[in-house]
């Protein structure tokens, strides 16, 4: 089946995107593509975005990744959401930012545009001024006896990002959750346009601060692909070292927080102390605790500082020594298992339909890890660990496994750091590229088109959370409301990452 789809897309004109080609389809071909996607469950929709003239869909079929585009002459294009429900939020976002309407789309409500910007369609060729009062948001209705609504947010009880959750509950059980996001919309894409790749990289690094290395790397990868550059081996090794430290500190954070939300503060405290050790080592090694702005298109800005290798080594030793013990304490508490096992189950069919990556996808049987496939240097492709249960427990367990993997990888990288240059100068020319880097919550996908002067002509940074948020709504269904924080934490989608 995927063959049919690939042939269909490849009928379109090649647009020169590297390393994954982009094909411009006419309206008939676009419609045929949607029909083919509807019939082939094996095709993953990785992202959908636009520029003032076209919409673009990133697709994965088997081993192949490609982009299909379609022109939007009258501001309309055929919707993908009837074939892939995961397209819904992308279509709503495209309408809010570029003004293109998805014909036949399943949901036409606004998403990022809360009616509070001075203009509508801020990224359209001609944005329109806006002076209407903000409209009341509309939520999907729920019918049934004894159902009531609980509105939560945008300001939450803890130190968390803002978003509104509308719960429909019957007794204790959640019948439906609908998330309304967009509160953090900062206008990322608009700020990146017309900037040099180096300046735009600073925005990519601030799409979701917890994934600053992964996003910075994915953006750099896209720029380097566009320009046909291969960064020096030492730069790649240092990027991977930073990326693994980032994965480690975030997994420690999430694993500890899951235990905490399940009622065991001690594990959270221990994980927090280990995480602090990792961040301090990162500060010694790279001059910044979160390693922000260290990855730049062309390479990395700084070498590992002289005391860095020893500091990271010591932090990794501490983590490696304590993790198994923390895991054992966790396993020996039936009360923890009681909260985590069977809670917030996400069906494998859903993670496949929504192409969810990261721990969330892998805990429900979707074995996708961008380090493995499509793979990128310096990683040696290795099959990712996969579980099937799809509950909070499976997601917590996989984090534990992946932390062990990150410790191993980081140690190996430090031991065998290749000598040589840290960065290459960027040639001033045009090009188009796609970057895919595995962050701690899934693959970060960045697409960029540079004009002849090397400035950003069009760009889309896609956080993995786009594919995770819809699954949170599925995971909570039928669970008790009190388990929401635990389930939410076990997925930990980024708000800033999708609010753009």
């Amino acid at each position: 089946m995927s063959e049919v789809l690939l042939r269909l897309v490849r009928h379109g004109q090649e647009q020169g995107c590297r390393p994954h080609q982009r094909h411009l389809l006419d309206r008939g071909q676009w419609a045929a593509l949607i029909a083919a996607i509807g019939e082939d469950e094996g095709v993953a929709l990785l992202g959908l975005w636009a520029d003032p003239a076209q919409v673009h869909a990133a697709l994965m079929a088997g081993e192949a990744i490609l982009i299909a585009s379609c022109a939007v002459p009258e501001g309309r294009y055929a919707a993908l959401s009837p074939a892939r429900p995961g397209a819904v939020r992308f279509e709503r976002m495209i309408r809010d930012l570029w003004g293109h309407v998805a014909e036949g789309g399943l949901d036409q409500r606004p998403w990022l545009d809360h009616g509070r910007w001075p203009l509508t369609g801020p990224l359209a060729a001609r944005p329109a001024p806006h002076a209407m009062p903000p409209p009341q948001p509309v939520f999907l209705p729920v019918e049934g006896e004894g159902i009531h609504q609980i509105p939560v947010g945008p300001v939450h009880a803890g130190v968390i990002e803002p978003g509104h959750f509308r719960f429909h509950v019957q007794g204790e059980a959640v019948v439906r959750l609908e998330a309304r996001l967009g509160y953090l919309h900062k206008g990322h894409i608009g700020l990146m346009l017309g900037k040099s790749a180096q300046v735009a990289a600073r925005f990519a690094a601030r799409l979701s601060g917890d994934s600053t290395v992964a996003h910075g790397w994915a953006f750099a990868q896209a720029v380097e692909a566009a320009l046909g550059l291969e960064p020096p081996p030492r730069a790649l090794a240092l990027r991977a070292l930073m990326a693994e430290l980032e994965r480690l500190h975030n997994h420690l954070n999430d694993w500890g927080a899951i235990c905490n939300d399940a009622g065991f503060a001690w594990l959270h405290a221990r994980a927090g102390a280990l995480r602090e050790a990792v961040l301090r080592a990162a500060a010694i090694a790279f001059g910044h605790r979160l390693m922000m702005d260290r990855v730049m298109p062309g390479g990395v800005t700084d070498d590992l500082m002289p005391a860095g290798a020893a500091a990271i080594g010591a932090a990794l030793d501490a983590v490696a020594a304590e993790l198994p013990r923390l895991g054992a304490v966790c396993d020996s508490h039936a009360s923890l298992a009681d909260r985590m096992v069977g809670t917030g189950v996400i069906a494998p069919s859903l993670v496949h339909a929504f192409a969810a990556g990261g721990v969330t996808g892998r805990a429900s049987g979707r074995g996708f890890d961008a380090r493995h496939r499509p793979g990128y240097p310096p990683y040696v492709p290795t099959e990712p660990a996969v579980l099937e249960a799809g509950d909070v427990d499976a997601r917590a367990r996989l984090r534990m496994t992946e932390m062990e993997g990150s410790v191993r990888l980081a140690r190996g990288l430090i031991e065998a750091l290749p000598p040589g240059e840290l960065t290459l100068p960027l040639p001033q020319r045009g090009g188009e590229g796609l970057g895919l880097v595995e962050g701690f919550r899934g693959e970060c996908l960045h697409w960029v088109a540079l004009d002849e002067g090397g400035l950003v002509r069009a760009v889309f940074p896609r956080d993995p959370s786009w594919l995770l948020w819809p699954l949170l709504e599925a995971a909570i269904e039928g669970n008790i409301l009190a388990d929401f924080p635990l389930i939410n934490k076990s997925i930990n989608a980024s708000y800033s990452g999708v609010d753009l």
Partner: protein, 181 residues
């Protein structure tokens, strides 16, 4: 199960009682900052809040980097509760609004409503370069460009993100200012 629990947790807890704590020594806030805050407190003729502060954090558009470091203040290494500082769930219980982000237009109303719910006297702290003046996001159609665009701010803590030590120093300066006035 009980066996495992005894075997693994008890000895570790017992050892923790006799081993040195993981907690760092407290940072010392700069004297000028404390003086400036004291002057502010007097100028506003605010009643003293006592030697304890309840903090309500509001993310008004952050990239979440600032939240990571604010959360880190709560870990055992910084342990902000030893200073009488704690995070509270409701603005109605708060003395301090700790605000991050460039203030997106989509968060303005939520921030103002949160501030309205916070009883006087209160401190408003803008943490992170974004909160100070919009930072890297300055000039976007979607942001107001710093917390001061909506609320009078008492203390700015720059940094992208500020480290937990810098954040803690700012919080301690607030405590000092009201304790010494």
């Amino acid at each position: 199960m009980r066996e495992g629990w005894r075997r693994l947790l008890w000895p570790r807890l017992a050892r923790a009682l006799v081993s040195p704590p993981l907690t760092d020594a407290p940072p010392v806030p700069p004297e000028e900052l404390v003086q400036a805050l004291m002057a502010r407190l007097e100028a506003a003729a605010q009643a003293r809040l006592g030697r304890s502060l309840a903090i309500r954090q509001v993310d008004a558009g952050s990239c979440n980097g600032c939240e990571l470091e604010i959360s880190a203040m709560q870990n055992v290494v910084y342990d902000l509760e030893r200073f009488g500082l704690r995070f509270v769930a409701s603005p109605r219980h708060a003395d301090v609004l700790l605000v991050t982000g460039p203030l997106t237009r989509n968060m303005r109303e939520a921030l103002l409503r949160t501030a309205e719910c916070t009883p006087e006297p209160k401190w408003v702290v803008a943490a992170g370069d974004c909160a100070v003046d919009g930072g890297i996001f300055k000039g976007s159609y979607a942001v107001e460009g710093g917390i001061e665009a909506a609320l009078p701010v008492d203390l700015l803590i720059p940094g992208c993100p500020p480290t937990p030590a810098q954040l803690l120093e700012g919080m301690l300066a607030l405590l000092e200012a009201q304790g010494g006035g």
